[in-house]
């Protein structure tokens, strides 16, 4: 049986259209051998949670630059819990003030990658958090 690839949903929530980061990360994760689904722009937390279920992803990567993270992230985490997706790893990349990092982690965000993070650091983190049964044996 072929090894199941790590499945990642890259999502761009909110009204912001600056998608350079989301697209660069999508490509870097794909080059690292992961299965990447990009939602496109202007996704509500509801749309992202549904896509995560439908695509059966291991990881959700949110790209947020607009300052709307404190509204978007807690709602997404609630929706994921309600859908029983308790083991999905959610990471954020973007512009997040230091003061917001601890509350976001408390809300269940696994990691926050700030400007300057390398794509390798993101790949490594995702690998460290995802071990699928197929990969285990």
């Amino acid at each position: 049986m072929p090894e199941r690839k790590i499945r990642v949903l890259i999502a761009k929530p909110g009204l912001d259209g600056h998608d350079r980061g989301a697209k660069v990360i999508a490509r870097a994760l794909r080059d690292a051998g992961m299965e990447v689904i990009y939602t496109g722009l202007r996704q509500t937390p509801e749309m992202i949670a549904s896509a995560a279920v439908q695509e059966d992803v291991d990881v959700i990567g949110l790209s947020i630059l607009s300052g709307a993270h404190n509204t978007i992230c807690p709602r997404l985490m609630e929706l994921l819990r309600a859908k029983g997706m308790n083991d999905v790893t959610v990471v954020i990349g973007g512009i997040i003030p230091e003061a917001d990092i601890a509350p976001l982690k408390q809300a269940g965000i696994a990691e926050i990658f700030l400007p300057g993070a390398t794509t390798q650091a993101i790949v490594d983190f995702i690998r460290s958090r995802t071990t699928t049964p197929a990969q285990q044996g």
Binding site: I10, G14, L15, D16, G17, H18, D19, R20, A22, K23, V24, A26, R27, A28, R30, V36, Y38, G40, L41, T44, S66, G67, A68, N70, T71, I72, I95, P97, E98, A99, L114, P115, G116, T118, T119, Q120
Partner: protein, 560 residues
């Protein structure tokens, strides 16, 4: 290090005295921030095809390589125009008045994301975004507060808004009228460049066809009513921020300009009726000489386009005027004070490239919107260049430099190749629909990231020269902004004449459903309808919603 391709590194001309060339260079490849190869030395031999009269000329004369004014900054400095906006209209009004009191010479409005997308502050989709990336403007009432006690006849105002640009401009014109300002005297710039939204920044609402119509409507309306206002700022800034190379930025921007000119000609306007009001907006990125060469090449290409492609006769139609903003994407969250140095170098390139106006980014912008203190340093940086550095004493100080002239030639050639390619694809709208510029930019952005990750490109404080640091103080947006805006909208909807609003929106919908015909005949220009709706205090969400009903919404096919 040896084994490098010599022809890539060395000037076309080996030195006449037969000097050998050092082969211990510290890196195998020297490239600009865009990845463009730079040789070890440039000499006269690089310019054998180049003719100083034909290709350089004099400042203020064709082909405008050296700038569009004979004396350049000896007559007047560029307009120091700092982009600002956050919170409510009152918050931003206070920042504007502060900046004007500190010697800033023009205003520039940053709108929040709901406004940029045509939603009112109380729309459910606006939740969490009101007043965050700019000021929240949902109606003429907000616009009146934004410019309270600022006389629009005396300041020049730039408004960075695209899909809802025509509606926002209608509100601005209504404020001007209320202040008693003559529209003919109004000076400023509406960004209103929808093509680069599809290409790069992605703040689009409607499909390209009706969007191009709205742009054409504003250009046509402006040509008649606001002769000193720039109805469009054709922008490479966002293309570059999305990760393009300098050549792509230049090429896609100028090709967008060609697309707008063609749309206006189809409308029945004569090129010299509107071309002198077309303005441009470029990025100033880190690579000093590449940027200077880019601005010089831009002017040289545009005069040729205007004269040869469109047959413009008025010299004012030939001269490319542009605003510059230093590169936000070059700023680092790490060691943010280093950003002052980056911004100074970038701003210097813009000035040496002959910009007409300039925004310098603040040191804290990789974290948040700027604090007042950070915004002040950014403005001071421009004043230091303008008044202390001495670079403004003469026009085009780099004119005739082997390197700058060669790079100008090469960037010009690279941009023209892209322009020809987009012509062959059937124009920019067709190219966008095929994802061509989007893919070129995504590829360049990814290449750059790979280079930074591999440390082929050093970013100080990010992939080298790291230090432990404490967080800096950043601007906090008052969390009550959204609630105050919602309250204001409730009051507005209660106090205005809702039947008048409904009538104006119905008029707008009907006009939008008709295809505009050539100027001079019964005209389908939407500006008068937008103006009526604005004056009736229809909200931005209502106006853009009415047009959405007629035009539909655009969905892109995402390219990753």
């Amino acid at each position: 290090m040896s084994g490098k391709p010599r022809d890539n590194e060395r000037s076309a001309s080996p030195p006449a005295d037969g000097r050998t060339i050092g082969n211990r260079e510290r890196t195998p490849k020297f490239t600009t921030v865009s990845g463009y190869p730079i040789r070890q030395l440039y000499t006269q031999a690089d310019l054998v095809e180049w003719d100083a009269n034909r290709d350089l000329g004099l400042p203020g004369e064709l082909p405008y390589t050296r700038g569009i004014h004979p004396a350049m900054y000896r007559n007047r400095l560029w307009t120091m125009r700092q982009f600002a906006g956050f919170g409510t209209a009152e918050d931003t009004n206070a920042r504007f008045r502060y900046l004007l009191s500190q010697g800033q010479t023009g205003l520039s409005v940053a709108f929040d994301l709901p406004t940029l997308m045509g939603y009112d502050s109380d729309d459910p989709l606006a939740e969490g975004e009101v007043g965050k990336c700019g000021v929240a403007i949902s109606s003429l009432a907000d616009m009146e507060a934004l410019f309270d006690t600022i006389p629009l006849a005396d300041v020049t105002t730039s408004m960075t808004i695209n899909s809802p640009a025509a509606a926002i401009w209608a509100m601005y014109l209504a404020v001007a009228e209320r202040q008693g300002a003559d529209w003919k005297a109004l000076s400023g710039t509406l960004q209103n460049d929808i093509l680069k939204e599809y290409i790069a920044q992605k703040e689009y609402i409607y499909p390209p066809g009706p969007s191009m119509r709205l742009v054409t409507d504003t250009i046509e309306f402006g040509a008649e009513h606001t002769p000193k206002f720039n109805p469009i700022s054709i922008s490479g800034y966002h293309i570059r921020e999305a990760g393009s190379t300098a050549i792509q930025e230049l090429a896609f921007t100028l090709r967008d300009g060609i697309e707008y000119v063609e749309a206006c000609l189809e409308r029945g306007l004569a090129v010299d009726e509107f071309a002198s009001r077309l303005s441009f907006f470029f990025n100033a990125h880190n690579d000093f000489f590449e940027e200077i060469a880019k601005y010089r090449a831009a002017r040289r290409i545009w005069q040729r386009v205007m004269r040869e492609r469109f047959g413009a006769k008025n010299p004012r139609s030939w001269a490319l005027r542009f605003h510059t903003q230093t590169a936000g994407c070059s700023l680092t969250a790490q060691q943010p004070y280093n950003n002052v140095a980056r911004t100074a170098v970038q701003a210097l390139a813009a000035v040496l490239g002959g910009t007409q106006s300039l925004h310098t980014n603040s040191l804290d912008e990789a974290w948040a919107l700027p604090t007042e203190a950070a915004a002040t340093i950014a403005l001071r940086t421009q004043q230091i260049i303008g008044y202390e550095s001495g670079v403004t004493n003469t026009a085009d100080p780099f004119g005739g430099s082997y390197f700058v002239e060669t790079l100008t030639n090469e960037i010009e050639r690279g941009a023209e190749e892209y322009i020809a390619k987009i012509d062959a694809l059937g124009g920019m709208v067709a190219a966008i629909e095929r994802g061509y510029p989007q893919r070129e930019i995504a590829d360049a952005a990814y290449r750059y990231q790979v280079e930074v990750d591999a440390k082929d490109k050093i970013v100080v404080g990010v992939n080298n020269y790291l230090t432990e640091e404490k967080p800096i103080e950043i601007l906090q947006i008052d969390p009550s902004v959204a609630a105050r805006q919602s309250q204001r909208l409730r009051r507005l909807r209660a106090e205005r004449s809702n039947s008048q609003v409904e009538r104006s929106l119905e008029g707008l919908r009907k006009a939008a459903a008709h295809i505009p015909v050539a100027a001079g005949q019964a005209n389908g220009n939407l500006m008068p309808y937008l103006y009526e709706a604005a004056k009736a205090y229809a909200t931005l969400g209502e106006i853009c919603g009415a047009l959405r009903q007629v035009f539909g919404a655009y969905e892109e096919v995402a390219i990753t």
